[in-house]
Each structure stands twice: as C-alpha cells, then as structure tokens.
C-alpha cells in the first residue's frame, strides 16, 4: 500500500448535549447550583474509528444522515478535536465543507479568491499566478469583480471549488458540495478529480450520490452510528449502505427471519456440494449448491410455496435465479423443510455475491415472504466494471 497520508487511530468524538448550552456565565452558575439541570446527555458521534488512507486513494465516505461522516471529515481536516484518539495528516489539505465557506459577502469575487486562498495557505504570489486559471475554471468571467452577495449558490460553489482545486492540495476533502453546480460544471469537477487521481493525490469525499462513489472511488467507507460498518470495495460499500438504508429491497425483504403467511425462511447457505458448509468461493464451471431451510407453521390459508434463490451482485443487482420446480415445492403442510437447489455450471461472474431468498405462492406466483443473507461468496477476482468475464479476442490494425 502507498504511504499513509491520513492515519486516524482510536478516534472518538463525544458531544455533551445540554438542553441548552450554558455559554453565558450566569447560566453556568445556575446550572452548577441546581445540579439536576446538568443532566447532560452524552452522545458519541464517532466511536473508535481506525482508518489509514494511503496516498492516491479516492475514498467515498458514505452513510445515512447523522451517521458521523461530516464529523469525521472535520476531524481529519483539523477543524474539530477528537475526544480521544490520534489523527496524523501529511500534506496540504484543502477542504470544501460548505459552498464558499469563508467567503465574505461584501467583498468581490476577486478579493474573496485572494482571501480564501490565503486562508488555505497560499501566498499572494501563488494566487497571482493562478488567478486567471481560477476565474476560468469558475466560469465567472467579468463577474469576478462583483460582490459575491450577488452570486447564486451555484456560482458560489463554483468559485469555492475552483479555489480549492487550485490550492494544489495533497489531500482534498469534499463534503457533499458537488451536487450544487449544473451538469456541465459537475462534469468539469469530475474531470478535475480524475486529474487529481492521476497526479496521485488523495481525495476523500462525503456524498449521497452513490453512483458517483462506484464510478470514482477506489475505496468506500460506510459509516453508521459513528462506526465504520464497511471499508473496502466501493461497489460493496454502496451495497452495504443500501442495506442499512433499506433501499436495497423493494419488496421489503428483511435480514432477520420474519414470519409472513405462515412461512419463515430460516437459513440459506451457498456451498460447493450438497448440504456442505458455507463457502466464500465458487469457481466458474463448478456447481453452486444452495440449501434453504423453510419452516411452515401451523395456521390457516397455507399454500404451496415455490422457493426462489436470487444470486445478487454489488448493489444487490439480481444476477441469476434458482427455483424449485412443480412437484418440488414446499407443501402447505406444517413442518421444517430442507430445500436443496443446484446450479450445475457457475458462469464466470466477477466479484462477490450474496443470496436473496423468497417464497412465492406456487399457484399465483405472488411473493409470500423474502429474506436477504449477507454472507458473500466470490467467483472471480477479475477487473471490475463488468459482471461477466468471458474470453474475448481482439485485433488492432493500423
């Protein structure tokens, strides 16, 4: 791995929440006088974060609202102090935590460029040299001499982004600001980010645009409830987040077993032989065996159930389905059933996959219950970007 530019170890961030913060002296006295008001609740925005980010990585920091992403970014940027833990950052940082943070509304764009760049650590000489390029990137033209209070929010962020990227940072921290500009500008920003990636710079951004994470990042980190829930492949980070958010299963398939229509899907295991232990690798061309355990409970209105197992890729894209056949369905009789399904010839899929199991009414095809299993198995570690890895031939002519 490349040299670490950001190292955070054991980082905790605790916020103490008073009903109302006692910043005035009188309130402090009053609060300490009657102790019970000091019933401050503690809240950990970050819990025991360990993360090492190497030079040249592009990291997408994703998570639900209030998960602690922005707090983490601010700690890395040196704006907030961790309650405990150590953060070490090597190199010049440019942070875009808010559109045009630090702009003074009364000053012109030009004056703000100089001020903002100076705050980010640039000398006047350097800004002189970069000024035209900044203006060009921001697309402000002659408007650069207007007070920024007359700018639209899009123009604000364009100028802010233009300055931040011209600071020539070693590390660029971006917090959900790219969404503001129009599409043309967004494209330009992405091109700039690609340029940064090629120059070996480190980029860390918080975003809710999950497709951007899959598209741009070399690594995805999912933060939820102040903890890192997943750290690794961006596509899987996105899948993990969708799982947390519950946007991964339109039919509302839960992770936990749930009794619906008198059925409970107890378990589903992918293995390389019938009834074998769970595997984390299935080679292409070999068999995939899936054993599903279904309980049919005592009750009325039981129907014959067709079991369907869907192999899902990153982002829970359904790739292929295995089904029980007529005559092999789960009967409408209470009891525990073991269903073995087999895919005799695993196609050359690339990446990691998980199983989604549903039981359908065999007569109508309507889903009765569904459940998702997040135990993943790998098929091929090929280049990302496609689901199938097939032999190809190519010729190049002059």
């Amino acid at each position: 791995m490349a040299a670490a530019v950001i190292t955070a170890s054991g980082v905790n961030k605790r916020y103490v929440m008073h009903g109302r913060k006692a910043t005035a002296l009188k309130e402090r006295f009053v609060q300490s006088a009657k102790r019970q008001v000091g019933a401050a609740t503690e809240f950990y925005a970050l819990k025991d974060i360990d993360v090492v980010i190497g030079a040249g990585e592009t990291v997408g920091l994703i998570g639900p609202n209030g998960a602690g992403k922005s707090t983490l970014l601010k700690i890395l940027a040196g704006i907030l102090r961790p309650t405990s833990g150590v953060v070490d950052v090597q190199g010049r940082i440019a942070s875009l935590l808010e559109l045009g943070a630090g702009f003074n509304a009364e000053l012109t764009g030009r004056e703000n460029v100089y001020l903002n760049a100076a705050l980010l650590g640039l000398s006047k000489k350097e800004v002189d040299r970069l000024f035209d390029s900044i203006v060009e990137f921001s697309e402000q033209g002659p408007r650069i001499d207007d007070p920024v209070k007359h700018y639209s929010s899009g123009e604000y962020v364009k100028l802010g982004f233009a300055i931040a990227v011209h600071v020539d940072p070693d590390i660029l921290l971006i917090d959900e600001v790219l969404a503001v500009g129009d599409e043309a500008f967004a494209r330009k920003c992405l091109a700039k980010i690609a340029e940064f990636q090629q120059a070996g710079k480190t980029i860390l951004f918080v975003t809710h645009a999950l497709d951007l994470v899959e598209q741009l990042c070399t690594r995805g980190i999912v933060v939820d409830h102040g903890m890192i829930q997943y750290d690794g492949d961006p596509a899987f980070a996105v899948g993990t987040l969708r799982k947390i958010l519950g946007t991964d299963r339109p039919a509302g398939a839960p992770l936990e077993p749930e009794e619906i229509g008198g059925m409970v899907i107890e378990d589903a295991v992918a293995s390389t032989r019938v009834g074998g232990a769970a595997t984390d690798r299935v080679r292409p061309g070999r068999s995939l065996h899936v054993r599903v355990l279904v309980d049919v409970l005592q009750g009325e209105g039981l129907v014959e159930g067709e079991v369907q197992v869907v192999v899902m890729g990153a982002g829970d894209i359904p790739v292929l389905a295995l089904r029980t056949r007529p005559g092999g369905h789960v009967p409408a009789v209470p009891g525990r059933y073991t269903v073995d399904l087999q895919l005799p010839d695993m196609p050359p899929l690339v990446g990691a996959f998980i199983l989604g199991v549903s039981v359908l009414d065999a007569a109508t095809g309507q889903p009765i219950t569904a459940r998702r299993f997040d135990r993943a198995f790998w098929v091929l570690d090929g280049p990302r970007g496609a689901l199938l890895h097939l032999p190809t031939t190519a010729k190049v002519r002059a």
């Binding site: 940027a77 190199g91 940082i93 808010e98």
Partner: protein
C-alpha cells in the same frame, strides 16, 4: 532503482510535511489581507470612507477640550495636544481588545468550516485598530506641528517604545479575551465595561503629575504603573507634549508624571515584562481552547 524510489518517497513526505506546516503558520500576508478586508467591509458604501475613523477621535477631542479646558478651565496649556497624546493610544487599545473579543465568535462560519491558524482572528482585529491608530497619530503630529507647539527634541524617541508597548500589551490581552469569549460569551460584555473604567485609570484627561503627588503620599505610586496602558499614555505625553509643568494661581504644578526620562524607561520595562507574561498566558489559554472553537461556536 529501489533506493531512488525510497528517496523520492522521502522527499515527497518531507514536502508534504512542510506544506502542512505552512498551512498552520501565521503569515503576514494573510493578516494584512484580513485587516484590509475589515477596513473595506467597514467603510464600504460610505462617501468619505476612511475619514470616519479620523472623525471619531477628533470629535471626542473637541468635546473633552470644550468641557475640561473651557468650561471647567483646568489651566493646562495646549490641552488638546495633551489630550490626544493619551486618547489616541488608549482608543487603539480599547478598540483593539473589544474588536478582538468578538473576533472568533464573529467568524463562526469560517472557524467551523475552514482549517486555518485561528490566531490570525484576534491578531487581525488588533491590526485593524493599529492601522486606524497610525493614521490618527500622523494626523495628530501634523496638527501639533501646524499649531506651533514646541515638541521637537530627543523626547520624540519615546514614541517608539511607547507604541511598541501599546502593540505588545494590546496583542497579548486581545489573544486572551478572544479565546475566552468563545467559551464564556459574557467576556465581550465585560470587556466593554472594563474599558470604560480602565479609561480613567490612565492620565488621559487629568494631569498625571497630580496623581503622582497624591499616591506618593501613601507610597503606592508604583501600583499605578502596573497598568501598562498608564505607561503608554504617560510616555506618549512625555514624547509629544514635552511641557512637564503648568501654572495654576501663580504656582507651578506638575502636569506630566515626570520631567526626566528614567521613570519612563523603568515603567516601560515593567510594562514589557507584564506584557510578556500576559502573552505567554494568552498563548497557553488560546492553544488550549482553540481546538474546541468549532464545537463551542
């Protein structure tokens, strides 16, 4: 080949470290930009702009002059000059410290979103006050010269240490109050009132020589100069006003704190020592509190 890569990586790491350090350093350029920003924002859209900063002390001087010299008839010759020699540095001190006390809180948006050396905030507030002081002071010297008041001499050299002490003490106190005000917002209100009281602890309107006689009777005159601003004010008067006595009912009365120089030098030394201690304390407090600025705002 491998060793070359290692040394390149080493260079890169060293470069990265030096660039990270540059971001945390206080730079004059940044300070001057911030001061110019404050000046521009303050006087933007006003017709006479910066002249307003001269109007304030001139009007203050006119009022004090009329009341103390004409109405109360204090017999101090060229009272206007005596007055300005003390009033201008104290105004600079007062506006610097008051401005600095709200400087971090007033830049909440910046502090919460951008990482930069927070110390530039109180420092730029002090810089803002000093720029105004320098212009007012040049105007004062011009008025003194035009009025024909005799002030040329070695005494003028005292201006240098007096202004230096003004800068040192104002800066130290400003750093302290700017940080404390983030945690306890009462600070800025307290500072404003303290300045009203503090004003009278200096021989600005009254004759320092009279205070000397009164306090010397109890042997506590030295206490008076534990206030570095009293040193700044009295030294400025010695530098510009020059005339140590005034005549009242046929008798010579002491006007300045001292007619010689030794006392001023001693006072300046005390003032610098106090400022140095205060600066160390202020830096320590600021460094301790600044890590939580973004959270406390």
């Amino acid at each position: 080949m491998a060793s070359q890569t290692v040394s390149e990586a080493g260079d890169r790491a060293a470069l990265a470290r030096s660039r990270a350090a540059a971001q945390g350093r206080i730079r004059w350029e940044l300070l001057s930009l911030l001061v110019r920003k404050d000046l521009k924002v303050k006087y933007q859209g006003s017709a006479i702009g910066f002249a307003w900063s001269l109007a304030n002390p001139l009007i203050q001087m006119a009022i004090y002059y009329v009341i103390f010299s004409k109405v109360l008839d204090n017999h101090i010759p060229a009272y206007a000059i005596y007055l300005m020699a003390g009033l201008l540095p104290f105004s600079a001190f007062s506006s610097g410290v008051v401005g600095a006390s709200g400087s971090v809180v007033g830049s909440a948006g910046l502090v919460k979103k951008v990482s930069f050396p927070r110390l530039v905030l109180p420092l730029s507030a002090v810089g803002f006050a000093l720029v105004q002081f320098l212009l007012q002071f040049v105007l004062l010297l011009f008025i003194v010269a035009v009025s024909g008041h005799d002030f040329i001499g070695w005494n003028l050299l005292l201006i240098v240490p007096a202004v230096a002490l003004l800068v040192a003490f104002t800066t130290s106190l400003s750093i302290l109050v700017s940080a404390i005000n983030v945690r306890w917002r009462d600070t800025s209100h307290f500072v404003e009132i303290a300045m009203l009281v503090w004003f009278w602890a200096n021989p600005i309107l009254y004759a320092g020589g009279l205070v000397k006689d009164k306090l010397n009777a109890h042997g506590v005159f030295w206490l008076y100069f534990l206030n570095p601003m009293a040193t700044v004010v009295s030294t400025m008067q010695r530098a510009i006003y020059k005339e140590p006595y005034y005549t009242f009912q046929g008798k010579a009365k002491p006007l300045l704190v001292d007619a010689g120089y030794a006392l001023y030098v001693r006072n300046l030394a005390i003032g610098f020592a106090i400022s140095a201690v205060l600066l160390l304390l202020a830096r320590a407090v600021f460094n301790r509190l600044q890590a939580d600025f973004a959270e406390d705002l």
